[in-house]
Symmetry: D2
Subunit: 453 residues, 4 copies
């Protein structure tokens, strides 16, 4: 029962597993085992004690429900965890029990466990992010020449290509993925400071021991403990926030394209997805919906984390105690956005016919800017803009297209070349550098991002 | 395993139970049973079908883990729930199964279940809030005359009473409790709208049926369904946000008073609370810490909910799908703040000796305002303020108290009456209407709150 | 230059005036004048001093730029304000200058000024809110029978009426307005506490003086000063947050209806509104856009305020110093949402033809739920749902409407009465109690909101 | 009047200037001038027109108040700006006016102007950040051996050095500064996309022209326009959020150290800073207070920006219109935090005597962990912990120090070496690797941050 019903639209199964009791407990025990081994190596505790501790550090033997209850009492998971582990160790080797958690403090195990969990979560997210980027790259290339309406403020604008739209999604997801990986790598550092962050209980060998613990856990060793400096975690949190924002943008676009009145793209339904409890005709944009739900949820969680950064002295009263739940919520919401958009993109149906029809149905009005620029050179910009405003006034439901209307205006007939007027509503003729931009975003053209001239 | 380890500092056991799978499922099934009963009453569905549905609507028979998984696929808990309930009913009465969820939509069951859960949660929170207010009232009365330093911007200021401080906490908790109850009562309304919110599938009797469902569930019947109008829920969310802010303020005060250098109040330790994994001397402000953690977490969750209010047309794509997790998180965090402060207040030790000593240790400087006012009438305000700034300059570590220093100033000796100077540092003489304010806040004096003149 | 360019999409002219230097300064000076008058009445300060203070308390004589600069240095507007006022008073009556701000503290003037500004802002917002509600009431009545597609998750659903949609907007705006007024009234209380919140400098007459000051400023007198208890302000903030969420929902609906592919409603353009710098054909949903911008902005500002509630002891270090800017931003954003939606609603064009055509274009599929319910009674729900899913599969582009398709199915022909099938796609026949709900929301029907059975 | 009174605790003078009307207008005009010049270079518009445009592009000639008012009507600053610029150009050269803003769209000028303003703001922030880091480095080195109490959950813990505390601040500010610079550099890209983001109006030379515009403005040219992809800006916003969180942590520490009961550090007062309007004795932590105010405010603004990332298609309806105000608020709040902490750090007085006295006043109890570890090896951990809990029970007000008490326990006398007991309360003997950590954070030791083993 890893996914709880109440959270069931705000997580994925693999991520629910990452933050499950078993997984959280395992991460904490891994820290304790690694600490004991490292301390034994440097003769701080007996080798036999380290062995006994490592052997006892198995989550399945623990009463996790009791641990959770005691954590609420203690205000930290470290105290009950250490107590329970001591008991388990004592069952094997009573002398060894004394060396559990030697020289460490509660926050050392809690923070390091959190970092281990983040890395575990990231593995799943990275897989989905890679999948998503592959599909978007495919869509960008496949639809390089698929022309569709541009839409600004939800109103029709000159055409773009669907390839450019997909490439735009790809670009922001790529940048977001890079930021996430960079932030995660920066945050993948051991926390080990002892009571006050000086490792006083380990004498002069604290750093060497810390380096050994980090190595055993596959983490980097930071310049110093970070018990009340949470900026590295905040950076991971923010990277999730930005990424989810980008996925939300993509999701909004898809949900809008999927409106029956627009009909230009559709998520695939399939196994349990997209139906309605009461309306058999429904094909709902479920992937987009879940990503949008995440995009609604994550900014507030990001703010919660940033608020928690104001942490007192060597350990906060209130600042870090809310971090576990906040980060777990945020990572799971980010993960559901990534997974949903990967699935949505993979199954996306693109309806080129509707795209083309939707442009046509605008009767050339979206080329009014083009006509203005043409006419500006002849009759001045202001006159041209006013003329085109009249010609495209939606209040006047005329029959013809823009070029037909313009051709009927006696004054204009001579101003614009017939051939030019004929091509006025040719989308191909008004795509500018849409394809070049798409190529650059896709990395297939001569992309030199962030060049400084 | 109701409290998960990862959430264990952000919930309480009773509230974790409220949002547990069993409880959530039960709330949804209660809705389905009440709906069927009401529809049978109005002959929309056969009475036998309603009986069968009500009999099948027991959470223990369901595979909740499967429901949670399917909810993520479906983007709504309603679809898998209805499907599973139909199967359970069909096992008893295959004809009856068709009448499950008749005329309702997914969001009807999800929203109404959420309201039922909120009321269940509120029962626990109300109990803790009442406890908290009783203790604060006791503290306010008991310490009516307990004089302590006022502190502004964390610097010493003229004295207040601890009674006034407690009464101030009480006042804001009371107002917050009233707002919470009011918001909850406003939000305790049935959601029943059917596919588009018109109850079309129930013909012309939709409202009567709705009123019957509401009655059966102990809810009010609103003017109309609120599937995409979430302001009543938002009001509950905000009431939690404000209440947690007030509790956070109280918690911060306690954590500050409990600093060893201040030592004016202390939370009780006791069973599993307040200790350290490594420091035997520690008595940590755990109640305050957990409330502060909640106060860090809840504002962001409030923002998340408010962001979700922008919901499209007759059902949102993204807006409501994140509400369950967000509200559950927020209510549990609020609940942990309430419970923690109730416990902290109940066990609070007030150290009147230290309060008195801390005032003394200021050597009268906190009465500089009083001296200024006295002197202003003699030598003018500016001269008085400047003179007192010099006399109280912390950079000059003098031995005497303020009144002693003033007495030594030859120019002043004649300006201020000796008796007055003697009483300068008498806290009792400079409490203004502290006790009257405390009484008014406590409701024991002639409180006439919000009188409009 | 009241509206700054950088804020020009996040305020209105009247609200920018409310929070302008002149207005802020005036509110602070009004407090100082009222305080002096009240103190003179109770013989705390000389009547002549009070007169001189009141005479000097005119914003136009002050160097506001200097005040703003000094405020940043002082960390409070009170100190430089009082200093400047003393100078102005001294120019008239040097003895009087000493009695400026007598017994009050910086936060007294800052907080009371904020309350006065909020009331001033509310006057403008109330006017717009009333306008908005009048128009929505008119729309709800006028379009009682205007049938349009319901839309859930942005997909077609059974029909609703535009009257119900407008009534839904109205209902939430009404509730929001009521909450705002209630919160504002609760917060319209004087802040007067002196250095530590005990009014020590005013001796035993603090409360009487406070009542007099409140009376002079048109405020209520609270049970006690609220210098570090900010829940009443938080309630105003939250009421703004909820209201803006409701306006954002309305704005989203309008922006979606205004899509050219949907075309069911449109904001009016007119003087400087809705155009494009480059596209002459554009009529942009500017009102909706500005309201949506506010709805994006306000939740975070709400969170910021709630975070600031954790205020230390008798005056916060950090908590209240960010309130001015936060509340001003939030109120102005709320105000722009209200004003924009009032204007948008007033000019809203409703295109009944397109509404009707959009239903038709669904070829009856939105009545699949209705058909399912009909068929369920004959062939069982599951069979019916499956059959309708096939009949309405968007993947199969068939020519006929749903009822035509059903009529062609040999098995069904005999199951459903011809007359019934004929009426299957009659929207009028499937509106349920849409009109009753709209009436109840509009208050024209037998509304008994929040009835508890 | 650059700093408004209402914002006067949430900005600095230089940053208020950056976001002043004049500066904002100048940034927009710089874009238009650079665009015209680039277009002339590529023969898109006449060279004479470009010259005329560049000559007219001077803010002092414009009616900014009118622009701000019209922006609210238009929903974008671009439209009124372009209109006004055309008028100014026409006054010089009527033919040239038509070529203003050629091929660009409103958002191009608004977004690029925002980027230019961010860079201008960053220059001021960078200067303050450098100052701050210099002082912190000095403090870290200077107080390498200044021993003080560690404090966890605001309770006494084993000693640390003030050098380590300062180095911890330094480390997080350094990382934050690096993130800010990196994000800013990534975001320093031109926005130029034209109506739909394809630069259609510029034919095939859009990219070359864009590169030229970027060069002229000192910006990089991105892979593609980013009109509805806001992740680069979001990254700047988040970097500000994280940095302000770190500064808030430092500010909280200082405000706590500055409590009169602690008295270990103090901000300098000086010109207009730190006083009280009523209490002459006050020296308030104004720098810390303003930074804490910012740290309360910025997380919500960050959330607001992230919420705005969900932007529709080729231009958002609501998403970007709130960005200007949000970013300006956030950058100014971040800036005030940086400036305040730079000033606070520069003037920080460190009171080593009080640090030492505060440790002493704990009567050795903070060395209970040390004693436990010593005793654990003799009598087992549990017994040791229990014994020390008793010995350090704050409820028992004993006279002696911990080592004295332990010496009096007959059982212990023989267990611990006298010499060891004597050194029990020697802070120097229990600092672990505090100095090494401080060195690593300060970069003076063998720092190899983020080493991966």
């Amino acid at each position: 029962m890893l996914v709880r019903l109440i959270d069931s639209m705000s997580t994925t199964e693999p991520l629910a597993e990452v933050f499950s009791d078993d997984s959280v407990l395992r991460a904490m025990l891994d820290f304790e085992a690694a600490l004991a081994r490292a301390e034994a190596k440097f003769k701080i505790i007996p080798a036999a004690a380290a062995r006994a501790i490592a052997q006892a550090a198995h989550p399945e033997d623990f009463d996790v429900a009791a641990l959770a209850r005691q954590t609420l009492r203690a205000g930290t998971p470290g105290i009950p965890l250490v107590k329970a582990l001591r008991q388990k160790v004592a069952e094997r080797d009573s002398a060894a029990a004394d060396f559990v958690h030697w020289g460490a403090t509660s926050q050392d195990v809690a923070d390091t466990a959190l970092v281990l969990l983040l890395r575990k979560a990231a593995a799943f997210m990275n897989a989905d992010l890679s999948r998503l980027q592959s599909v978007l790259l495919r869509l960008a290339r496949q639809h390089k020449n698929t022309v569709m309406l541009g839409r600004t403020l939800l109103q029709p604008a000159p055409p773009v290509t669907f390839g450019l739209k997909a490439a735009g999604w790809l670009g922001s997801v790529r940048r977001g993925h890079a930021r996430f990986n960079h932030a995660l790598s920066e945050a993948s550092v051991l926390q080990l400071g002892g009571a006050s962050g000086t490792l006083a209980a380990l004498g002069k060998r604290g750093i060497e021991i810390g380096e050994e613990v980090a190595k055993r856990l596959g983490l980097s060793y930071p310049d110093a403990p970070w018990h009340s400096h949470r900026d590295r975690l905040a950076n991971v949190v923010c990277a999730c926030g930005i990424l989810t924002g980008s996925l939300g943008k993509m999701a909004r676009d898809i949900s809008l394209l999927m409106q029956s009145e627009v009909g230009e793209a559709a998520e695939q339904g399939g196994s349990g997805r997209g139906g309605s409890s009461t309306m058999p005709q429904k094909r709902n944009p479920i992937g987009a919906t879940l990503a949008l739900a995440a995009a609604n949820r994550v900014p507030g969680l990001t703010a919660a984390f940033l608020s928690q950064m104001v942490q007192e002295h060597e350990r906060a009263a209130g600042g870090w105690q809310a971090e576990w739940a906040t980060i777990a919520d945020l990572v799971q919401s980010t993960g559901v956005a990534v997974a949903s958009m990967a699935e949505a993109a993979e199954g996306l149906t693109v309806n080129e016919k509707r795209m083309s029809a939707n442009i046509k149905s605008r009767r050339g009005t979206v080329f009014a800017e083009k006509a203005t620029l043409l006419l500006s050179r002849k009759i001045g910009r202001e006159a041209a803009h006013r003329l085109l405003e009249q010609a495209t006034d939606p209040a006047q439901e005329r029959d013809g297209t823009l070029s037909e209307l313009l051709q009927q205006m006696p004054d204009l007939r001579d101003l614009i070349d017939k051939e030019v007027l004929r091509k006025l509503e040719d989308s191909e003729d008004y795509l500018g550098v849409a394809r070049e931009f798409a190529d650059r975003l896709s990395g297939s053209g001569p992309t030199r991002p962030h060049r400084k001239k």
